[in-house]
Subunit: 212 residues, 3 copies
């Protein structure tokens, strides 16, 4: 189980670090800014979760491995774009690149949502599903909110179709199913629901109600 | 006393949720963004207070009722504007609407200032008036600062005439008077001072010194 | 030692308060906005550090002296510019003023980096250099990040040449040297390294890699 969670954590870290690093690259930040924004996106949600749960120091500071992976990912992406800057301007950019970025953000959202719930239920004995799901959503969206605010953008969560709602749906599925299907399967199920809802919403341009 | 505090909390929650939700509506966010910004404004200051005081998990997460009221308020406001969008563009908008928004923000500011002080003095035994007032101001302005940063605006507190100063004045009055007039009356007095100062400042266009 | 640390804290507080206050002045904020931004810049990094380390309430709230110095500094600067507004528009402004602002920010960065490490090592018994340096950088850059986000600017740390890297270098020097040269000398050494690197980088326009 520990290995399973660690693998999820690393995948989520790499996915979110990529999304933060690439926004920094697009904004022409230097290699350090790219690393800072990548790392902030990757561990920001987890730090918020730990601060809320009273975990001191937060895991991201106590165990350097996550920030290390975030920095490796960010530096690698910077190196790729630095050596082949045409990547950002080529015709294929709009199609493939945007799709990759969307997947990184979506996978990170799904993974950190279930990881947040998992951490909260390990630390808080009282069974409070509402609270667990909230912590999950905070963990899932926190890094992206910091990323967008630092980059001077309106946070994704406020303007993108079906973003936090996908995270909430995945969280509910995990919390509801885990007693019957087990922790690991419950996490994969919740993560899958978040990713599928967000992917479908993007593909079919589902939108939530909006004032005209 | 508990009932009295709970009623204040709910009024403050509804007032701040309205101010956050309407800014989201004006920015053409979807129903989810409206709920997120409403809830963040309503519980943001209290979460900052609890993190500073070491209350884990913060009350907003442990007791869902506040977020629930924030969501109900935001969804209701969204529904009203969605069904009658002319509200935002009619002639009366500037007059009445702006006034309502100002009152929501002002009432929330006053209520959360005294609630912050009340929570701090319950949890911290040492009598430190400076610290209590600071926590009060943080609780009062915190949600609005988050709202403005997420909405991409310069925080109210930095640019509006007599904003944090009204909160500080109300906090001082509460802290000074409560031993003589009692907790509940002290809170109403402090809250009243904040609201009256801010209302007068807006009505008479009082301004603090500013570089020309 | 306590006196030495206190003197560093006050110098850092004044330096960062100045940098925050002057940005508020440039943005034409009123006297209260200037004080809020000055105080937030001065104590923001320390509050983040204390929240991460589980120090409740954070030192800035428990001991009013730091916020008091920040307010005195901000009010004094406001008064100077208010009485002689030409300062901001004179020919000499670009040369001297920008240099003073840079030094304030640099000295604050250096001081709060070593102070953050010092606090972390006092509170956390386990010897984790990586963690200490991280807390140091967070303490050093935290106030400036809040200042920039509240002022609506892209955080310095993301776009300025050699900013967080100077803080990291100073932090490493302090952590490595303190066992041999002692705490106080180690702090001065680390602080010196941060300041010198940042000063040299600005003078010679050193830049980190950046996508063209």
């Amino acid at each position: 189980m520990d290995t399973f969670i660690f693998i999820l954590e690393i995948i989520g870290t790499i996915a979110f670090a990529s999304s933060g690093a690439m926004i920094a690259v697009e904004k022409k930040m230097d290699i350090f800014g790219v690393n800072i924004l990548g790392a902030t996106t990757a561990v920001g949600g987890g730090i918020m979760r730990d601060v809320i749960l009273g975990v001191t120091p937060p895991t991201a500071f106590a165990k350097p491995v996550y920030i290390l992976f975030a920095i490796l990912t960010s530096t690698l992406l910077f190196a790729i774009v630095y050596t082949t800057p045409d990547i950002l301007h080529s015709k294929i950019k709009n199609k493939i690149y945007d799709k990759i970025m969307l997947w990184c953000d979506t996978v990170g959202l799904g993974i950190f949502t279930v990881l947040g719930i998992q951490t909260a239920s390990r630390l808080v004995t009282e069974d409070n599903p509402f609270f667990f799901i909230f912590i999950g959503v905070l963990t899932g969206v926190g890094g992206g909110v910091l990323r967008d605010i630092m980059a001077g953008e309106t946070p994704y969560i406020l303007v993108r179709e079906i973003y936090a709602s996908a995270s909430i749906a995945g969280g509910i599925v995990y919390v509801v199913c885990r007693s019957s299907v087990g922790e690991a399967s419950g996490m994969l199920l919740g993560l899958g629901v978040t990713v599928v809802i967000r992917a479908l919403a993007t593909h079919f341009h589902w939108n939530l109600l909006r004032i005209r």
